[in-house]
């Protein structure tokens, strides 16, 4: 049977490409890893964090994990909470990757990496969209469609030109907790001085409901967003796929990883392997839409097209600075709050909306104290006493830098006998000396700005390349149909029926998170496919 459209992946791009195609009346088969939440996720009670801590005798199951996988050890790195560990399940086996420096996260989960997304929904500036290779007008329309679908909490403020321009019909913004509200007030008093240094502060649009939206409920500020999706207030792409499964022209097949494709005169043959057992199965489609994420798509394309060599790769530079917010010393955070980013700072060095640095500010409570204590250079007993006193005053500033293509940032396919698929991606990722210098200068300026607001950095921890989980740029948009590039409509050069809906085509990666733009671009590409005949 030849399917009308096969969409690969249920993450942000696969889900929204599929939804647009289904709403356009097209028949869609979605092929997906579809790994579901572990059983421990069902143990998380519908309580706020403090109540769960005070009352639930079974909390160790989900806070620490059944195999204690929620107790990280070693160098600081992002780790998934036990109820979110399914996001990376099967990736080592089916998505092999070798690198000395690059820390990747890829997913075969139902909802992909979006199952653990931080919910920031940045609208890119027009210069950023041009640098990426996207048409600003088309993406602006698509932003509106996606915002309507998933619900956004936002309001205009100083940061709007850098992260939320043109959004309408949004819900009221998330409440700030005591610490962040104090920082915001300090910013308002020093706004002009900070602006002279190119710094502004405001709230990123968030895909968190503050009012009910369809079947999803408004947030109750339980501070449990890293542990559970109770009520569905934080948008996850599996919610879109759940809804699609009620449509008669949509079919969902889980448990498969797509390994390659082969285009013939009138269709695309899609090769898959079963996650459970590895059995091969082929599917046929008039049009194939890849929404497997930049690295996943690179793997599939490198296997499927002749010729190759290296592909470029983009990933944001990233640093975390735990800061001490002096005004919060001695005080506590309120019981009802959010764990998600609450306020952002932007540094626009050229004042041109390009090469903007984005800083998300988080307060610390619901990831448990011991993770902070183990980083303190004291005995754990003393570190516990110190962090119990200081944790309410800790603000985590995560600094995200833009990224540009460079010779030292490459991905290639290599043979690998140990891998289930017989090959692996190999990544070399070395930022240039200029990038390192510019990022360092930007970090110093940002932390100096925070210090003027009473928030003093205790440490500046550069994270390994790849740890933002933002990847792009392997098949850059190009007008000349060069091999291993994408046309502006998402078509893979050298093919007629293969389209890429994820971030593979982005020629530039802004410091702001790319997720909202990924969804909008997937919608744009799918909309183009709705208006196109399969044999066009």
């Amino acid at each position: 049977m030849i399917h009308d459209f096969v969409v690969v992946g249920s993450g942000m791009t696969g889900a929204h490409a599929a939804r647009t195609l289904v709403e356009g009346g097209r028949n869609v088969l979605m092929l997906d890893g579809g790994v579901r939440e572990p059983a421990v996720a069902a143990r998380v009670p519908d309580l706020d964090f403090v109540s769960a801590r005070e009352t639930d005798a079974d909390q160790h199951h989900y806070f620490l994990g059944e195999r204690f996988e929620g107790i990280p050890w070693g160098d600081a790195a992002h780790t998934l909470t036990p109820p979110r560990q399914h996001i990376v399940e099967g990736a080592e086996r089916w998505l092999p990757l070798r690198s000395r420096t690059f820390q990747r996260m890829e997913s075969l989960a139902y909802g992909g990496l979006g199952a653990g997304w931080g919910a920031g929904a940045a609208v890119y500036t027009a210069p950023e969209l041009r640098a990426i290779g996207l048409d600003a007008g088309a993406i602006q329309d698509a932003y509106g469609v996606i915002a309507e679908r998933i619900g956004l909490a936002a309001e205009p403020d100083d940061a709007t030109p850098w992260c939320g321009a043109g959004l309408t019909g949004t819900q009221p913004p998330l409440r700030m907790d005591r610490s962040i509200a104090l920082l915001r007030r300090a910013y308002e008093r020093r706004r002009e001085a900070l602006r002279r240094d190119g710094l502004v502060m405001g709230k990123m649009p968030m895909t968190v409901l503050t009012q009910d939206h369809g079947e999803r409920r408004a947030t109750r500020y339980t501070d449990m967003e890293f542990w559970t999706d109770h009520g569905g207030s934080v948008y996850r792409p599996w919610m879109t796929v759940n809804a699609l499964q009620r449509a008669p022209n949509f079919e969902y097949r889980a448990g498969r990883v797509v390994t390659g494709f082969r285009e013939t005169a009138d269709h695309v043959a899609i090769e898959t392997r079963a996650l459970d057992g590895g059995a091969a199965e082929a599917f046929e489609a008039r049009t194939l839409v890849l929404g497997t994420g930049t690295l996943g798509t690179a793997r599939i394309v490198l296997r499927s097209l002749s010729g190759s060599g290296d592909l470029p790769l983009l990933s944001n530079g990233y640093c975390i600075a735990p800061c001490l917010h002096a005004r919060m010393l001695g005080h506590t955070l309120e019981r009802e709050r959010t764990s998600l980013g609450q306020l952002e700072m932007f540094l626009d060095p050229g004042r041109d909306g390009l090469d903007v640095r984005m800083v998300s500010l988080y307060t610390y409570r619901s990831l448990l104290l011991f993770k902070l204590v183990k980083e303190v250079p004291l005995a754990l007993a003393d570190g516990r006493a110190l962090m119990q006193a200081l944790s309410s005053a800790i603000v985590l500033a995560t600094i995200n830098h833009p990224d540009h293509a460079a010779a030292g940032k490459r991905v290639r396919r290599v043979p690998d006998e140990r891998a289930e698929t017989g090959d692996a991606l190999e990544i070399e990722f070395e930022p240039t000396a200029d990038e390192r210098r510019d990022n360092d200068a930007a970090e110093r300026k940002i932390l100096a700005g925070l210090a003027r607001l009473g928030c003093h950095a205790l440490k500046r921890q550069a994270m390994r390349p790849g740890s933002t989980v933002h990847y792009a740029g392997t098949l850059p948009y190009s007008d000349d149909d060069r091999p291993f590039t994408l046309a502006s409509d998402g078509r893979l050069a050298g093919t007629r029926r293969v389209f890429v809906a994820d971030g593979s085509g982005f020629r530039h990666l802004p410091g702001n998170g790319l997720t909202f733009t990924l969804m909008a671009n997937a919608h744009r590409i799918a909309l183009g496919l709705c208006g196109r005949s399969h044999d066009a």
């Binding site: 403090v50 050890w73 506590t332 183990k374 003393d382 110190l386």
Partner: protein, 137 residues
Amino acid sequence: MTLDAPDDRTAVALARHLIGEPPTAAEIARWRDAIAARGAALERERDRRLWRLIVAAPALAGPVDAGLALTDPHSPVRHRLCLLLAVLEASPVHTRRFLPREIGALGWLALGARMVRAGFRSALGVVLVRGAAARWP
């Protein structure tokens, strides 16, 4: 007691060192499971010696831990203590030892005094750990 499965007495002494309260029987069992599951094995002679030292004299757990925090923060000895701390934190019995609390002037004074003592602990700990490392590398 074996090195891989600490006994109840060790668990009680170390929990008192970490948070000033004893663990429940379930928490002790959970800590043993965590040590086994997370592979906090004492493979180096120095680590085995340091572990035996704090088991025999829990009062030295603080200095040893502090010394390791400065010289070898990812040591398996410290890993075991961190596993116990995590197990204690994820229990409603000890929640008040971990959740943030309002602190007044007296509280800051007490914390200041504790940090002074922590400084002495660290100094003693570095000597202990470096001495052990020199003797049993």
